[in-house]
Amino acid sequence: MTTFAPSIYTLPSTPYPSNSYPSSTLTEQYETEDLISSLFELTSPPTSDIRSSSSQSRGSDSLPTTLRKGEHTKFLAEGFFRLSGKFVSLDASRPWLIFWTVHSLDLLQVALDQGTKDRVVSTELHFLSPLGGFAGGPSNTQLPHLLPTYAAVSSLVIVGNAGPGGGWEELANARQSIYEFFMRCKRPDGGFVVCQDGEVDVRGTYCLLVVATLLDLLTPELLHNVDQFIASCQTYEGGFACSTFPFPSSPRAAMAEAHGGYTSCSLNSYFLLKSIPMPDPAFPKPIDAHAALRWSVLQQGEAIEGGGFRGRTNKLVDGCYSWWVGGAIPVVEELVKREKVGRERMEKKVSRIEKVDEEEVGVAEQEEDWEDEAPAPPLFNRVALQEFTLIAAQQEPGTTGGLRDKPGKRPDQYHTCNVLSGLSTAQHRVVHSASTVTANKAAFDSSKGLPAIKPVSPDGGWASEEERQRVRREVWANALGWVEEEGSELVVGGKENRVNTTTPVFNILGLRLKPFINFFYCQDS
């Protein structure tokens, strides 16, 4: 395994070659290389496999190669219960603060008591706007916004329940109004404003699609042109930009360079769109998954930078991209696999046409789904990313706890959540399993469901009830199609460093996602 995911400690610590051309990019790069490599020099290699960790001395919370779960939990708890004055800047992002905290705790295997969960649910419901959607704070003061809507719903997935006051029932009752809010955000070019008079970018698209998928809100009018918008954000580098400009009579143009955060949003959006069996076979407009994969793996920093991810070409590594870039690699891997299978199937079809009389017809033809394949090499260095997390992204032992951008930066909830989510991706290999999706589809009961969404325009809905049910079945089956590959767990530093398994695309634990989506699709498998 480590042949294809070598430890930082086995790699030469080579600086980015200067080519005798100094520039500010290079200066900043060298500062970062020094900061990170000096931390690595102070430490000895952690054991790089869970199986060999049993003999290691354990328990000490201050070992540099230990994930200091206790300290991080304390950091999160303090931020959660005692909002200090300096967080005024997050007053319009309160659902985010909650999501970062409860998801981080979930990853760290820390259980919240029921009283706290109930308080979180009632706080979130306070943010639910009668106009549909969640606001960044109390809905009597703030407008609904797509980003907090995603964060609030994801938090309710984690801390809510189906019982009275548990949040899920309230959310179910708000489905139509949330949908109408989404439609008010929609623009003809397929983009969405994030709030009334707000900006348009792929963060909004991603947040909206996750919620629409989970709450069973998808309609053709909502999805119209969304694929065009996403596809045109892909840049010449292979990653995705924030947004796109709809020139009246020329192709759309990406509105900036490729960026990790927007690439995550775009790839995840594209994956969700891919799960929707639209009547139009040209949907979704294809992206170049190979180019996206190449761009993603090129963002992983060198050994001297600790193997963390950067968010843009020639920028600095930053812990938050552990999730934005690293966390999207399983998704792009799946997309690349599908492209390849699609290509091979085309080739097979061609060869079959050439020899129709060889009575081969019908053997594999009815197989709508392809088989699960043998394990591939890890597409990014999952060992190095864990080492980056342990050595460079943790706040110094015995201080505040929490995880950070890089040494010298203060930890915060955002980085804590994204670093831990990326760590989870590095420890656990989660793949989208065709056989699981097939089994899910077989188990789907289309007689059950919440009321169908009423489209805003009379012809904005599905053409028929059969079509609607086909979409529901496919969307639900695909959302629950992510499984952890058996025997693939790889925990650097010993098993006490293990974090829980997060689900690609959604960034929620699988054990949270399942009961929630089952509630909204009324499935009980």
């Binding site: 909002l83 709030c195 143009a253 960026h259 070409t313 020639n314 190095a384």
Partner: protein
């Protein structure tokens, strides 16, 4: 807890917003809140609606934003407010706004919001027919200056792509333009052979214009430490910039992205076995951080 000042301001805002009051004092209040919390999107929305309703001088608001943006370069709302202001003011000649943005990029030459805004400015105002050819030329020179100062500034590379390739009427809509652009990218590689931005730009061009990689190999081979004989025409007929001789100091070879280029070119020539060997070298020797990815590329070659 929030400061008493912030809480008071928010209580006041809640009351004003509930009554729908659009007044001078509402404007003052929104400014107070925004100064304390520039991410408060609801207050920004209310401020813009009030400015429009009171028919305020939006140029004045823009001046206020000039001072404000400097301290809040990372706020989505500040930039979006500015975009709305420019949309409403809709100047016949947006060049002073362009100059302002150029200035804003000097101290922070990779600010994503600022670059996205510059893309929008040119897109929006060119659609309205308000960007004369002179302005485009001037912008390209400015972009080249940015890249001269820091050839690794990937934001500036992205801007060049917009100016030269993506925008309607870009120079590369003609064949000469494509050749010119390939030359530009190769020269940039020869100046800074390890510059990922320049390699990505070159590959982006070839893919966008559906051009083969192989004809440019003579410009790439010297970075791979391979003999240049294989399948490459003699350099006398080669009409693209070649690497400097000697190469710049501190240019350790091989350059991984040159090897990748070679590998992809070999695939293009149906020499998949040789391509697989190149990817294997990257995996086992030259780019160990991405060993898994290069192994994946190698297996693809073997399967096909």
């Amino acid at each position: 807890m929030y400061s008493a000042e912030y809480r008071d301001a928010m209580d006041y805002f809640r009351a004003i917003a509930a009554s729908g009051e659009k007044s001078e004092r509402a404007l003052e209040l929104t400014e107070t809140v925004i100064r304390m919390n520039p991410a408060h999107y609801t207050v920004w929305q209310y401020r813009m609606a009030t400015l429009l309703e009171l028919k305020k001088d939006l140029e004045e608001e823009l001046q206020l934003m000039n001072a404000f943006a400097v301290e809040n370069l990372k706020s989505y709302q500040v930039w979006h407010h500015r975009l709305l202001l420019l949309t409403h003011i809709s100047p016949q000649d947006p060049s002073s706004e362009i100059d302002y943005i150029h200035q804003a990029l000097l101290p922070d030459p990779k600010n994503y919001h600022t670059w996205a805004y510059l893309h929008w400015l040119y897109s929006h105002f060119s659609t309205l027919g308000r960007i004369p050819d002179e302005q485009w030329k001037h912008e390209q020179q400015w972009c080249e200056e940015m890249l001269r100062v820091d050839g690794r500034n990937n934001s500036a590379w992205g801007w060049r792509w917009f100016l030269r390739v993506a925008r309607p009427g870009a120079a590369t809509s003609q064949a000469d333009g494509v050749k010119e652009e390939l030359n530009y990218a190769l020269k940039a590689i020869h100046l800074i052979p390890h510059n990922v931005s320049a390699w990505n730009y070159l590959r982006g061009l070839l893919k966008h214009f559906k051009l083969p990689l192989t004809p440019l190999l003579p410009a790439v081979i010297p970075y791979t430490t391979r003999p240049s004989a294989t399948s490459v025409e003699s350099s006398s007929t080669f009409d693209f910039p070649l690497p400097s001789d000697p190469l710049p100091n501190d240019t350790p070879l091989p350059v991984s992205l040159a090897l990748e280029y070679l590998g992809d070119s070999l695939i293009e020539q149906n020499q998949t076995t040789e391509a697989g060997q190149v990817f294997e070298e990257l995996s086992l020797k030259y780019d160990r951080m991405r060993a898994g990815y290069w192994e994946y590329r190698r297996r693809e070659c073997v399967e096909e």
